[in-house]
Symmetry: C2
Subunit: 243 residues, 2 copies
C-alpha cells in the first residue's frame, strides 16, 4: 500500500474566485514522484475553527498533510494558530524565525511581522541555505505558504523528509474511439488488473484523439500488461499513440 | 446571511496531477455574481462510497452543492451512482436522456453510453435549446461534467434555477506597503467593519504593487467605508490605485 497524503488549501481568495488555485497540481505531481498517493483535498475559508477541524480529520487519516496559504502577517492569516489548535497546543515564538524577521525588516519590524514567528509548540523547522525561511512541520503536517513560487520551492525542500518510495508508473494510450464504445473493454481491463488505476478522459479540442486512456500503478509491469490488454482489444487503426 | 454553496470535485486525474483543475474558479466567480457564498470544496477520488459520504455531508450543510466530473460512460465514472447512494435511492433510466443518446449514437450505441441515462430517482432534468443534454439536479445537488467547456456552459444554464440575490460587492486597494507594516491597520478595519471580509495578498512579481487589499461584502456601502478607512490609514504615496 502506498503512503497517503491530503492537502488543506486555506483561503477566501480561492473560494471567491479572486485567485486561481495552482498549488494542488504542483503538489500532486511531486507526490507521484515520491510514490505518495494524494487522496483528498479540501479548500476552506480563513477561519481558525474550520481549519483546525479539517486538519484534525485529515492528519488522522493520512500519512502526510500539506497546508497551503494563511501564513503571512495580516489578520486573515490564521493557519498557524489553527494548526496549534488542531493539536491542542499553544503557539510559541521561534527564535530562529524571529531572527530572520528582525534581520530583514530591522527597525521597521512590526507585531504583524513577528506573528509569523509564532509557531505551534513542538514544531520542527526545516531550512537549507537556498531556502533560509523554514518550512514549519508539526508531526505529519507540513505548513506551506500559498504564494505559488514559494510553495513550489518549499515543497522541493521536503523531498528528503518525505523520502521517496517506489514512484508511481503512469502510461497513456490515445485513441480515436469514443468513450462509450470502449467502456466494456475498460471494464474488463479494470477487473483483470486490480492494482492498476485505469482512467479515461475525453479530449474535446483535439482533432485526432478522442480519448486519452491512462494506466497508473506502483507496479510498472502491471501497467504495461494492462495497457497491452487494452491495446489488443482495440482496432489498431483506432490507436493514435502510446506513451 | 447569504445563501451558501459547496463543490465536490471528483476525479483521480486531478489528484494525480494529470489534469489541472479549473472548474473551481469558474464556479466561484459565477456564485459571487449570484450572491451565493462558496464555503467549501472537496476533491475526492473516483470511489462511490467516498463520493456519497462527502456529498451527504456537503448537501446537509449548504444550500447548494455542485459536483464536477465522473459522469461519462466508462467504469471510472461513478458520480451518478454515488449521488443515488447519498440519497439512499436507486438509479432510474431517464427516457429523455436515453433518447438523446440513441439519437446521437444510433446503431453504435453501447451499454456504456446508456449508463449515462441512469440518473438518481427523483432527479430533475434541466435543459434548453442551446444545451440539449440536461443538467441532472437531485434536490440541492447539481451534477455537472468535469470537462471545463461543458461545465461552464451548464453552469450558466443554472442561473435561473439558483436565482440571483444581491451580488457580492468587491473592491481592491493596491499598495506599496508590505503586509507586516499594515497588519495593525487591517486588524482595526477588520474589527470596525464586521460585515466586510478584508483580504491581503502579496503580489510577488509586480514591480510597483506590493500588496493587494480586498474588501468584500453583500453591503456595498460597508465595502466603500472599509476601503476609505484603510486608505485614510495609509500614506497617500503608498496607495498605487483603488478599484
Amino acid at each position: 500500500m502506498p503512503r497517503t497524503a491530503a492537502a488543506l488549501i486555506i483561503g477566501n481568495e480561492i473560494l471567491t474566485g479572486k485567485i486561481r488555485e495552482s498549488n494542488l497540481e504542483v503538489l500532486a505531481r511531486e507526490l507521484r514522484l515520491l510514490g505518495v498517493e494524494l487522496r483528498r483535498v479540501i479548500v476552506c475559508p480563513d477561519e481558525v475553527d474550520q481549519i483546525a477541524q479539517d486538519l484534525t480529520a485529515l492528519r488522522e487519516a493520512h500519512d502526510f498533510v500539506f497546508t497551503s496559504g494563511g501564513v503571512g502577517p495580516t489578520p486573515d492569516d490564521v493557519t498557524l494558530p489553527a494548526v496549534a489548535r488542531s493539536f491542542g497546543g499553544a503557539l510559541q515564538r521561534a527564535p530562529e524565525i524571529e531572527g530572520l524577521i528582525r534581520g530583514y525588516w530591522g527597525e521597521r519590524v512590526t507585531a504583524g511581522h513577528l506573528r509569523m514567528a509564532d509557531v505551534p509548540e513542538g514544531s520542527e523547522l526545516l531550512s537549507n541555505p537556498e531556502v533560509p525561511w523554514p518550512v514549519i512541520i508539526k508531526d505529519n503536517v507540513f505548513v506551506l505558504p500559498g504564494v505559488p513560487q514559494i510553495f513550489a520551492i518549499k515543497l522541493r525542500l521536503l523531498r528528503e523528509t518525505i523520502g521517496a518510495s517506489r514512484p508511481f508508473v503512469s502510461r497513456a494510450l490515445y485513441t480515436r474511439c469514443d468513450e462509450g464504445t470502449i467502456a466494456a473493454l475498460l471494464e474488463r481491463v479494470d477487473r483483470d488488473f486490480p492494482t492498476v488505476d485505469v482512467g479515461s478522459y475525453p479530449l474535446w479540442r483535439d482533432p485526432e484523439v478522442k480519448v486519452k486512456l491512462t494506466f497508473d500503478s506502483l507496479d510498472g509491469e502491471a501497467v504495461d500488461a494492462a495497457l497491452a490488454a487494452c491495446r489488443d482489444g482495440l482496432d489498431p487503426a483506432d490507436v493514435v499513440r502510446v506513451e
